[in-house]
Symmetry: C2
Subunit: 332 residues, 2 copies
């Protein structure tokens, strides 16, 4: 049996293009004990994957040139040598960008498909939702009445962060890159939303939206938005550093005003994190997010692209701001 696979063709310098990916037909190996054959239903494309295309030391190993890209995948069990995973079960896992994968049963996680649209297990109830949950609630710990700023607020993580902050009773400000996204954030219940691309003075816009200063900042973007936020922090502000998409494609070391003096003056905390720092609390997070979703307290949005061959394009679209909410590719 054969499968299409998408490989890393070469490492990008700066912004990646379609040329950095290569399609190849590969043989699917036969199942051994405890393994399952998985048919890919949805593929998750995420900004953090840009980091793995480079070979710089980071929190996860780089992809290897000439090997398949690996990321979040939602798949259906179509053959099973694993007694716990019956044919027809739906699972999520960190799997190759392939139409079919063979995996050990222990390497994937079965999802309760009755709880939400199945692709949500790559989004609201998966890695991005949990990233929002732990970053906001563990690092920022917003209190009722405090002001929370979220950059990249219309992305998969940011839109959940803002809604979670509203559940905590905070005043929530989101930044995003189009008027459509800004309008969508208002629909989601954000108190204020700023189109950073069309706002002439982001610092002034933030000051107007956050008249009492900023207590929490959940940063997915970095760069100029962060510079403006750092200038308006309240004493004992908490910053969850989740992503820096504005700098991922930089070919030179990004330079900017040093933040340390501003963080010092406000006794602020800046905490970098990755959701896997919270692996041991994963079930707690899924349970709480599922509960809030069931109660109608959390909405979620996806930008769904169709077709296995569109995966690279959907990934590249992340850096052009093409997605609102979670970008996923429907494969089958």
């Amino acid at each position: 049996m054969k499968t299409q696979a998408i490989l890393l063709a070469s490492r990008p310098q700066g912004e990646p293009t379609a040329n950095h990916f290569q399609f190849e037909t590969r043989e699917v190996p036969a199942l051994t004990t405890d393994q399952v054959l998985l048919k890919t239903r949805y593929v998750s494309v995420d900004p953090y994957m840009r980091g793995r295309m480079s070979d710089a030391k980071s929190y996860i190993a780089p992809f290897e040139v000439g090997k398949p890209i690996v990321g979040g995948v939602m798949a259906e069990v179509v053959e099973s040598q694993n007694e716990k995973l019956l044919v027809g079960s739906l699972v999520v896992g960190n799997l190759a960008w392939q139409e079919y994968n063979v995996a050990d049963g222990a390497a994937v996680q079965q999802i309760p498909a009755d709880k939400a649209p199945i692709s949500y297990f790559l989004g609201l109830l998966g890695m991005p939702g949990l990233t929002a949950y732990f970053g906001l609630l563990d690092i920022c710990q917003p209190k009722a009445g405090e002001t929370v700023v979220v950059s990249g607020a219309a992305g998969a993580v940011g839109m959940v962060v803002g809604q979670l902050a509203k559940i905590q009773g905070a005043h929530v400000i989101g930044t995003a890159g189009s008027d459509e996204k800004v309008a969508y954030l208002k629909e989601l219940g954000f108190d204020e939303a700023i189109n950073y691309k069309t706002t002439p003075d982001i610092a002034q816009a933030l000051a107007a939206a956050a008249p009492n200063g900023i207590d929490c900042y959940f940063d997915n973007v970095g760069g100029a938005i962060s510079d403006a936020v750092y200038d308006q922090l309240n004493k004992h502000a908490r910053i969850a550093l989740c992503g820096q998409i504005s700098t991922y494609n930089a070919t030179e070391v990004p330079v900017g005003p040093r933040p340390e003096g501003k963080l010092l003056k406000t006794s602020a905390k800046l905490q970098g994190f990755i959701v896997s720092d919270y692996l041991n609390r994963w079930p707690e997070g899924v349970k709480q997010l599922t509960e809030w979703y069931s109660e109608g307290k959390l909405k979620f949005e996806e930008t769904i692209t169709e077709g296995f061959d569109q995966i690279p394009a959907a990934f590249l679209g992340l850096f052009k701001g093409e997605n609102t909410g979670k970008a996923v590719v429907k494969v089958a």
Copy 2:
């Protein structure tokens, strides 16, 4: 009765000079109930005071032009209307740069003069020692075998930080600005000490001194040393942001490589703080530092200048790296 006082003459742009201070003779008011007349014995000069000379928003209010500079002072009670503070008692407090001050008894703190040289209550057993204690032990929390880097290690705070890190069993690296200071750090028990002024490649020197990477960074200095440290952080590194003396006299916003990407990749924490964040734990800190000092586990060094009229010069010397350990002025 009259006293000499040192006033802020004008706000410096960039590096302060003697011209920013003005000597004046002032009338000492008569004591009212609960007040004491204090004769200044030692004046503390500290880098953070540079911030108060500017009028930018910060964690403490700026000094007022035409009013006396206020800072840490060790004084003797020479007249008392306060039954708890007898004539001859020694106290520390936040007092004006004057030969004599009148203060409410509640505004000063009596010191146990038998425990250590009295000037140490402005240093090891005062604000700088407690800054080291809380910043290192609460924010960095070094574990045995971890690597701790301290910038400004030969200063009043840094020399205590390094010794406390050794007590915790860490591998300790200090940076300082002269060969004499480096030699002194070795005497204090630092494992490695780097003269950042003469080392051609600070990143390389750090890599050699910290072959297992950096787990904790106690930063008094900022700038290029921090840039090098950020590149060598281990996963879950902790940074206590205590001072940024390299930037205090900058006339333009200091610019440098953005640290966020590095902090993100390592899930590092950067926490700004000021010792007053820990006011409620002050007695704990004094008790523990006094105990370690009594046991011979903590050494302390002072650079003592003599004479009330030398206070501005001693303060200005901080920014030229003239002091090893705590800079104090002996007044009487």
